[in-house]
Amino acid sequence: MRRIFSQAGKEIAQFRRDKLTLALAFLLPSVAMLLYGYATRLESKNIPVAVRNFDSGALSRKYIDTIFANGQLVNAPWHDPVHNKFTASSVVSSSAMGPLDLGEAKATITIPPEFSRKIRQGQASDVQVIIDATDVNNARVIKNSIIATTGYFLRSQKLSQVKNLVTTKVRLWFNPGREEALYVAPGATAVILWIFPCLLSALAMSREKEQGTILQLYASSITSVELVVGKALAYTAIAFVQALIVISMAMALFGIRLVGDPFIYLISTTVFLASSVLFGLFVGTRANSQSAAVQMVATTGFTTALLLSGFLYPLRNITYPLSLICNILPARYFVEASRNAFVRGSDFSSQIHLPVALAICAAVLLVGASRIMRRMQLSGGG
């Protein structure tokens, strides 16, 4: 036991000496929190939409005003790519695609001639809408917005021929204002607290290998498990400081509050930070140099935490064989735990599986790292 603590103490002392590592430990997570928290918004606002109105009546003008009334879509000027001499690739010149080709609008609306007169006479009139679907998600947002405002316009102008017999009262739970920050900020804490603690511990472990100081450890009486646990303790303590910084930033900047059961969140956080550190140690034992360790963390840890954790889009959307990997990713469980704690307000019993899954991940990583350590020790000694 004493050997474990002295190993941990040595680790902390070494950590405090290197300025770049210190900046990496505390400055980078803060920068990352700012960037992920503020610069991740899936749903566009102020979407530019160009309108071409061939009608001269008042009704069409009112309709256009209604489309832009709720502020999600904003009116963009209609430009046609007139000079087409550079390429032949621009498919249509003066068609309804012009503003989309130029990238000046995300959708175009064309209102046909005689629109107002026809509708006043009770005849249907087609409005042509073309949406730039390169951004699939926002193409859906724009479509829904136009259909919804058209429906509202018909009702408010008493033009609807259909009485709405069935209506729905939709209540949005947990996030009635649909603020994306509530979704993004808790998830971002999980991604950041996965990447940076494991980066530090991977560096520490591979440094021992690179500088050959690991041979001294082999020669001492410390066992491989003690070595891994000692290092894990030290870096989990550092990870706690990182967690404090990142989570308080998220609370201060994005207005999230702890609404769930605090006890289970604390347990989940502890186990999660430990598993992140252990993953780093695991990578560190595999890598032969510090730069190789950084690259392994960047390619395996970074991308998987970002893409397979459910941080951006729901987990159920991930294609089948790939979706299996999600189940062994600690970050995936902590994204859930953190949304439970800060948005959903879940109680203790409904999420007991999260710390359990995290603990299994941590245990597997601990065993894995010490195994590799011991094998290296033996082959190195023989």
Binding site: L24, V31, L35, Y36, A39, T40, L42, S44, N46, I47, P81, F86, S89, S90, V91, M97, L100, L102, G103, I119, A124, I130, I131, A133, T134, N137, A139, R140, N144, I147, T150, G151, L154, L159, S160, Q161, V162, K163, L165, V166, T167, T168, V170, R171, L172, W173, F174, R178, E179, E180, S291, V294, Q295, L307, L308, L312, N317, R339, V343, S350
Partner: protein, 376 residues
């Protein structure tokens, strides 16, 4: 004079051959150049999908009438919702939504059928999990569209009857709304930037690390030649990386290539130069590879996050929008999407190409002069 020139070219050619041999021997560099881009493309292409479908729906139908069953069937029909739980009490339904076991809950009131028969408006209660604000918003839109179609059917007896204004909506460039068509071009840009930065800093710092840089300087070549001999082979190899990415994009993800391939290769070349310049700067400012790799985190994180490769930039706060103007990757992402998906030509993307070119020139000038000064 002419013999000096010939000499100069000979020296560079010799250095380029040396560089290429060194790169081909370096497993780490080969991994970065060819395997990492492929890996990332696959991950992003298959993992990121904003589709809103198969949401788990729980239903309590107090009316249990033909019309209420039709309404529920209408909601489930096109795959937006999957009927996962039916019956039970309102409390258990609410708990299932609260615990995240269901994304939506629907309660049909007992008076549903009676009120419709009397021609009065009846109201169904829907609870929607709002944690994922984006999905909830789109799902909410779908619900109201489904219900309004249902109403038309209920009143007029046919689905085809239409309102006076019905927008004829079509999706341009990606009519099937395939999400990988959005992400794959973005990731090509992201990966190319990442790889060119890492590879060039590794190639420069390696000489610094092992002290071979001084040896090179003792030979008759100057520092500009050394750098040119690094930039030329690397940019050639990175152009191959671009082609590999493009091949995967069309063979695996079936993303159409609608633009001009030469324009695409030209802007990619500019982006590669930007990446190489950033890499050289990283190497110039660091003492060893560990330091340059760690510093690269500070550069790559904002560059990627503010580029719009993964999430759109339109709705981020104004200050961050302003910051993104200084992100060279942002312009490349715009170019790649516009060329690949929209078939855009120079007349549409020239401001972005110009910005990218400016970044390439400025960053290359800054990083080579910093490197040169260090050697002098």
């Amino acid at each position: 004079m002419s013999s000096y020139r010939r000499n100069y070219r000979h020296q560079i050619r010799a250095l380029i051959v040396k560089e290429l041999r060194q790169i081909m021997r370096d497993k780490q560099l080969i991994f970065l150049l060819f395997f990492m881009p492929v890996l990332q493309l696959f991950l992003y292409g298959f993992a990121l999908s904003p589709d809103v479908d198969h949401l788990r729906l729980g239903v309590i139908d107090h009316a249990a009438s033909p019309t209420s069953r039709e309404a529920i069937a209408a909601l489930v029909e096109n795959g937006v919702f999957d009927l996962t739980a039916a019956g039970g009490t309102e409390a258990t339904l609410a708990k299932n939504v609260r615990d995240g076991n269901l994304e939506a809950g629907l309660i049909v009131p007992p008076e549903f059928e009676r009120e419709i028969k009397h021609g009065t408006t009846t109201s169904m209660q829907v609870m929607l999990d709002g944690v994922d604000a984006n999905t909830a918003g789109i799902a909410n839109g779908y619900i109201s569209q489904i219900i309004s179609t249902f109403n038309r059917q209920l009143v007029t007896g046919s689905q085809i009857s239409r309102e006076l204004i019905s927008p004829q909506i079509s999706f341009a460039y990606n009519p099937g709304l395939i999400s990988s068509w959005f992400f794959v071009p973005g990731v090509i840009a992201l990966v190319l930037n990442l790889v060119s930065t890492l590879v060039s800093s590794a190639a420069v710092i390696r000489e610094k690390d092992s002290g071979t840089l001084e040896q090179l300087l003792m030979t008759p070549v100057n520092s500009l030649q050394i750098l040119l001999a690094k930039i030329i082979p690397l940019s050639m190899l990175l152009m191959i990386t671009v082609l590999v990415c493009l091949l995967i994009s069309s063979l695996v993800f079936h993303v159409p290539f609608r633009g001009n391939i030469f324009l695409f290769l030209f802007v990619s070349f500019l982006a590669i130069l930007v990446g190489i310049a950033i890499g050289i700067a990283l190497a110039a400012f660091s003492q060893n590879q560990r330091q340059s790799l760690l510093t690269s985190f500070f550069v790559n994180l904002p560059v990627i996050q503010l580029s719009g490769a993964v999430a759109p930039l339109e709705s981020i706060p104004e200050f961050f929008q302003f910051l993104s103007l200084f992100d060279p990757l942002r312009y490349y992402v715009t170019c790649v999407r516009a060329i690949i998906l929209k078939g855009a030509g120079l007349e549409a993307i020239w401001p972005d190409v110009l910005a990218l070119a400016a970044f390439a020139v400025i960053l290359l000038a800054l990083s080579t002069s910093k490197f040169g000064r260090q050697l002098a």
